[in-house]
Symmetry: C2
Subunit: 522 residues, 2 copies
């Protein structure tokens, strides 16, 4: 059969040739910019020529610090099509974190989107390797004390833009670089190949996955620096769907405006952004008539929020689970599924395989209805982290997600905490998530976290930290009583601590590292 | 990213592990056999061991002569999983044609399904390379004069079946061999690789392609020897859909029975089988309530049949175009599309690219709304035919389909005849299909074909052959008048011949080769 390299430039070629009616729309003040795939491909392709004219060489990284905009998509395809590696930076990280990533990647060029100039100036100061800045989305020139030449994207295009032939390299060449969020460990770089991104994209398009079609208009409320915006800037042109890019703003009023103005059919993002939308709709009595589906991921979603979304928006909600290391899709529930919580985070599509093991790495005998350590193998799963030669896989060849999970009879995944949060007491494991779910459901409890504390007799014993609900009041006896009979007696925490405000990480998750530092001493 | 070879054994592994509820059902007398993917995988895997025990070696071909049954699927995965090449034979061809294919492929083992024993006996006589026969579906032992040992599949499994490790070879290894039908030239072998079949399969699963899901039950009315039954025995376990295999019989009453007994949601086959179903439903007043979609291909479908299917069956009909050389899917119309004829045969999914050229091979400038010669490039398109080292591609790197086609503004494909049927008159081209469509719509005309006849002045001139409709009567003047003003005057055939019965090929298409031999002389 024909030799046909799986490179991501083909997605934009396809959209340009076969889907002339689709649009990429970027939200802005007043006017929203709209461009077809053919024109966008032309700009991105000439931008490839401009990037090469800056002296960038195949395989070299180029950093982007930008929100979801047309210009960001253009830089992305310009880099990847020319064999460069698009390194997306998360503007919500600290200068020190970002500088370390830029340094490790050896980025010489930084593309900076609107509103991020000040952060970029700090990065230029902190990163001697940076030589050039490209300004996107009309961002103003940077103050870098003359150290770096900044050029506006359209100026660069008109001065140096020249068509180049895209692709023609090995499909296992690197296409993108994305660092993990660092909420569960130090950020690590995941380097995607053209092949892994290509295969991930056609996985998304499957009818039992994201089921995107040429008739869809997709609102991408997940940032491009979060695992390639879950692959949507690849998937949309590959099937001829329109894209709506919200820029930075994803508050409720903005989302409602975008959904209705552009007749969005599919909206994609983490659970929290949809709370803002729902609250706004309730406040103003608004509707989103064109919207058919919402696809959520990034963190598990409370059943009450799922129900609220389905009833208030009148849409199907698809749940999913993924990781930066998986490109990111691991599992997804289909468009039509059973009611409510039965769906979990769905099943793995072909090309992803899951294994549950015990803490020693031995596969659970039945793989169903028992909590295990979740391991992954697959065509878009990490092999080793960027900048290391060390394998990221276990001796068994599987990638350990660090998650605990359970599979139901139909193979639907439900996450059950992080393995490093497990508490080993008397040689047996206690899973804090099971305790937290029971106690967290009590009306008087706002937030709850259970951590391990060294114990001379048992090795570790559980300690429970409670942030009471506003106006809530519950004594230790009642807290323990709520657990009685629902978990083993020896799982019930010996010590209970009350705090006024639970420490949270940047992502909104409870910061157990800090809790362990404060309360985890012997 | 992880190394993950794209081999087709993964589809059955996936179905076995993740979709325990799905079934492969084979129609039979009375009882219909049903098996889950886990049990089917176990049988196929142990059959791999049995095949290897017969002395077959990696890369070697094994022939199958069978209808759509569970046993046939088992042999197929057993062969491919073990690195053998499954060579599907079309029982509707002649002994001489099949013997030539077996000889070219060097098949040593032949698997024979129910009702095909006599043909198999003839092949054993004609093919010295055949050493073994495996009997499927309870077929009786063959009379081969003792030359060949025949063994029943379940006997072979119980005697020699042993688990083997599937895969672990290069994804560009051959997986299947299928000869073209020979209706438009001598049959040629197309050798599919694991990679090409894998990529083709996930193309089928896309929401804008066949959109198969784990909730579907698929009736496969296209034979496994026709380009891998359009890939469905791969796609069904890859997504966890159930398969209904009709064996040999696809008449109207049988189809209605299968659709309703097994609550089929998607039915796939050539247009003619659905005529039989519709006629039967009309005769008995039957309904097919579970059926949601029919996917057709193999030949273009008259608009009247499309409308009849949609209204009588209450289903969405998806049209498609493909070729054995494309694995086979080239284009497909989506589940939701515009009304009626506007859909054509749909658009190419990502991974298939189309080009229209003039007769000299130069791309048509606009690629839209003009008839051109249809060329293909893609990840599941032929590179060279089996047994040759010669490229099957043109100097431009594209595969010439031999078809004429037109693309509308949205990129939807409509076929417009075969390029070798074009008639060159006075240095200009006449397309017989355009004449045939106009004349064929006349009530008095049953079948019509226009061929070229050598002409001393013009090079060629068109000759029209008419099979009048039953009770139909129309004179030459009226036939010519129907064309006046609708085609150029010089396109109107000089000679008109009437025949009682139009010569047809085995596929039901008009045999123009025979017409040219009879009427095409100077």
């Amino acid at each position: 059969m024909q030799d046909y390299a799986l490179t991501v430039d083909r997605f934009l070629d396809h959209g340009a040739k076969w889907h002339g009616g689709a649009r990429v729309i970027t939200a802005g003040h007043g006017e929203h910019a709209a461009i077809g795939y053919a024109a966008l491909r032309d700009r991105a392709n000439r931008l490839s020529g401009a990037l090469l004219s800056l002296g960038l060489e195949a395989g070299e990284r180029i950093a982007t610090l930008a929100w979801n905009t047309q210009h960001h998509v253009e830089v992305w395809y310009a880099a990847m099509g020319a064999g460069l590696v698009c390194h997306t930076l998360n503007p919500r990280l600290t200068v020190a974190q970002l500088a370390a990533m830029i340094d490790e990647a050896g980025d010489r060029v930084l593309a900076v989107g609107a509103g991020l100039g000040m952060l970029a100036e700090a990065l230029v100061s902190a990163c001697p390797c940076l030589e050039r800045v490209i300004l996107l989305d009309g961002e103003r020139p940077l103050a870098t004390g003359g150290r770096i030449k900044a050029v506006e994207l359209d100026d660069l295009l008109s001065r140096e833009g020249a068509p180049v032939v895209w692709g023609r390299f090995d499909e296992r060449s690197l296409a993108g670089l994305c660092y993990t969020s660092g909420t569960t460990g130090a950020p690590k770089g995941v380097a995607y190949t053209h092949r892994s991104n290509y295969l991930h994209t056609i996985r998304l398009l499957q009818a039992d996955a994201m089921a995107l079609t040429a008739a869809d208009t997709i609102l991408v409320a997940v940032p491009m620096f979060h695992a390639n915006a879950w692959g949507l800037p690849f998937a949309a042109p590959a099937v001829g769907a329109s894209l709506v890019l919200p820029g930075r703003v994803t508050d409720g009023p903005s989302l409602m405006g975008l959904l209705n103005r552009h007749e969005v059919t599919v909206a994609v993002g983490v659970p929290t952004v949809w709370i803002g939308l729902l609250d706004h709709l309730d406040a103003v009595g608004g509707e989103t008539p064109s919207l058919e589906r919402v696809i959520i991921g990034g963190s598990s979603c409370p059943e009450t929020l799922l129900s609220r979304m389905e009833s208030r928006l009148g849409v199907a909600v698809q749940t999913s689970w993924g990781m930066t290391e998986l490109s990111p899709l691991g599992t997804i529930s289909p468009r039509s599924h059973g009611p409510g919580g039965a769906r979990g985070a769905g099943r793995p599509p072909i090309g992803v395989d899951l294994l549950l093991t015990d803490s020693g790495g031995s596969p659970l005998p039945d793989q169903r209805n028992a909590v295990g350590h979740l391991k992954v193998r697959g065509q878009s799963a990490v092999d080793h982290y960027f900048g290391t030669t060390e394998s990221a896989l276990g001796a068994d060849g599987w990638f350990d997600t660090g998650d605990l999970a359970i599979l139901d009879d139909e193979g639907n995944l439900t996450l059950a905490g992080r393995s490093k949060d497990l508490i080993k007491s008397g040689g047996e494991w206690i899973n804090p998530v099971e305790i937290e779910e029971i106690v967290g459901a009590l009306p008087a409890v706002g937030l709850v976290a259970v951590i391990g504390r060294p114990d001379p007799k048992w090795g570790e014993r559980p300690l429970m930290v409670i942030e009471p609900a506003q106006g809530g009041d519950i004594d230790d006896g009642a807290l323990r009583a709520s657990l009685k009979g629902r978990v083993a007696d020896w799982w019930i925490p010996d010590r209970i601590v009350r705090v006024e405000a639970m420490p949270l990480a940047a992502t909104g998750k409870i910061n157990k590292t800090q809790l362990r530092a404060t309360y985890g001493g012997a």
